[in-house]
Symmetry: C2
Subunit: 396 residues, 2 copies
Amino acid sequence: MPKISQKGQAMPASPIRKLVPFAEAAKKRGNKVFHLNIGQPDIKTPQVALDAVKNNDIQVLSYARSEGSEEYREKLTNYYKKHHIHVNSEDIIITTGGSEALLFTLGSITDVGDEIIIPEPFYANYNGFSTANNIKVVPIISTIDDGFALPAIEEFEKLITPKTKAILICNPGNPTGYLYSKEEIDKLKALVLKHDLFLIADEVYREFVYDGNEHNSVMSLDGLDQHAIMIDSVSKRYSMCGARIGCVVSKNKDLIQTILKFAQARLSSPTYALLASEAALETPQIYFDEVIVEYVDRRNVLIEELKKIPDLKVSSPKGAFYCIAELPVKDADDFAQWMLESFHDNNETVMVAPASGFYSTPGSGKNQIRIAYVLNKESLIRSVELLKLALEQYKG
Amino acid sequence: MPKISQKGQAMPASPIRKLVPFAEAAKKRGNKVFHLNIGQPDIKTPQVALDAVKNNDIQVLSYARSEGSEEYREKLTNYYKKHHIHVNSEDIIITTGGSEALLFTLGSITDVGDEIIIPEPFYANYNGFSTANNIKVVPIISTIDDGFALPAIEEFEKLITPKTKAILICNPGNPTGYLYSKEEIDKLKALVLKHDLFLIADEVYREFVYDGNEHNSVMSLDGLDQHAIMIDSVSKRYSMCGARIGCVVSKNKDLIQTILKFAQARLSSPTYALLASEAALETPQIYFDEVIVEYVDRRNVLIEELKKIPDLKVSSPKGAFYCIAELPVKDADDFAQWMLESFHDNNETVMVAPASGFYSTPGSGKNQIRIAYVLNKESLIRSVELLKLALEQYKG
């Protein structure tokens, strides 16, 4: 019998996946499960995007251009301009989700065994894209006590080797909700210039920045044209996770030409979703204003309620819609499973994402969970109440 | 300035891409260009699929399940049953196009430096997916004089090393139009069993089989459950190339579990396209009957006309909608460019795909082109007439 490769074996499974059967069983037993575990917003997709698909007159559903249409990329430059990002259409390659944008980027700048440095905890699938490319993630720890701020630059420098090709950040961050300051981004700029590395910034949560803070894109920095690579996606911005449209943006022409070859090999991004994504650029500002007000409300309620739980530690997120909470338990994986398997209050329980999947250093984050505040306020309040009750009853 | 990786440099560019600027220039000079170079059918997408998207009532465009919905995969098993392929829903992972199906398959069964054997000429993007996975394509030549039949099994055996992980075929074939016989498939079965290799079959042209021939799927062979992997796609079957929905099918549970991890890392296939693809399964048989009649007509006209050109050699395709023609020129790349740059008749010219891009052995196929018969008969007749005139005038 032919065998799965070592790479196939090393490919990480979704950190939430193993809990899914327990959640399904809990529902079968008649329980309601509040899902704090997923990054799928409940916000309505902009009507203008939905309408563009409903009113389409496609007769032959043909390939789109591998790099995305000139028209869509041109419109994107106008959108970016509003966010102080000045690029041209030829600096953009449209991809099938932010996932593919990162996959192509890693494929273009790394060879077997190369390394990328990522502050941890980080978005779990960065591990998968690295494994797929036969490269190594080198984690650099950021801590809940520092609110997940950028680790000291000296710590980065200790990790840089001849195999280091890039530093990857997510800003604002999934799973931390941390927003890097201008000073932090400037420090990263100096670091990558000094060591001649790429700086990849996953900026898919650009709009989700709270409390009057400013988002600082790596594309807005002077003198970083050859080093900065931005990963983007329509998924969160327009609550269009199922579209699977993203892009890579860079002023580095060699990089864009190389990514284009990856894009050509897979021919095209999905045509219907491109229609929706192009139309979504017409979304009125009020849509975002309302969404931000809603998320700030949710975050405030969530953090306020969480802080009432004894011995629970939580960082205050400045962006995105996640936070990391440290629980008074030894093993959050076990606790999360126990909540689904053995706990309910009035036939209600809660599903959380154990944070261990967001760390690459073994044993890190064992007592942490990620909470996504993509539910309405009432559900969030009840979810935290359930979490509190569960912690009281749990003897892990 | 940070550098593109060796892999990024090795990534092959689309073999047609370099001709595109010449085609655009020809059009700017007022010429009509007949496109024999692309595999984008002009056939209308089934109405039932178009309607499913137009009539959707999605309000939040959310992620689909990473492996595809249970319902869609269940319906697919019924479709396959009609083609004598007996599988269960858990043997199927839905992917973003056949491209992703192959990318995930190679990621699951190969490690750095491993080899896959592919009869050449082959679909050019197999090179790209192999480069992306840091593995090596080992070509085995099939010849126009044999009509691109399966090379002798002894020739395969000469190429098998400890690094060989799979044999990959496209059946019916792009770019050859060749359809493997039951005997040939049986020979491959014996070979992969003897050497414990995977047998990957790209069967996306399953429906496009002519002259009363039968398609023989690798999934219909007894005793090959652990070795057979089928790559599929809705692109050609329903003229839905822009959907980007495909799948991997295999009875090998380790493989499917591994591919699922790759699928989870990229979260979801495009949701609108999944709607269209599921609905497309309701396409009435008459749609396919009419399409097949049309393609047989086109093929017959094309081959008949091509045979009138002196010193041109062409194989007679039994499936798909491509053929390879050998021209009385030294360098078909140069000839193809010349036709766009320096030739026209009555302000009309023709664009073909030089076949060198479909070969992995350097220097092979230099005097060959691939012709896609995805145009109507009149256009095909005129295209071949233009080709004939061009060959008479060309002094390459």
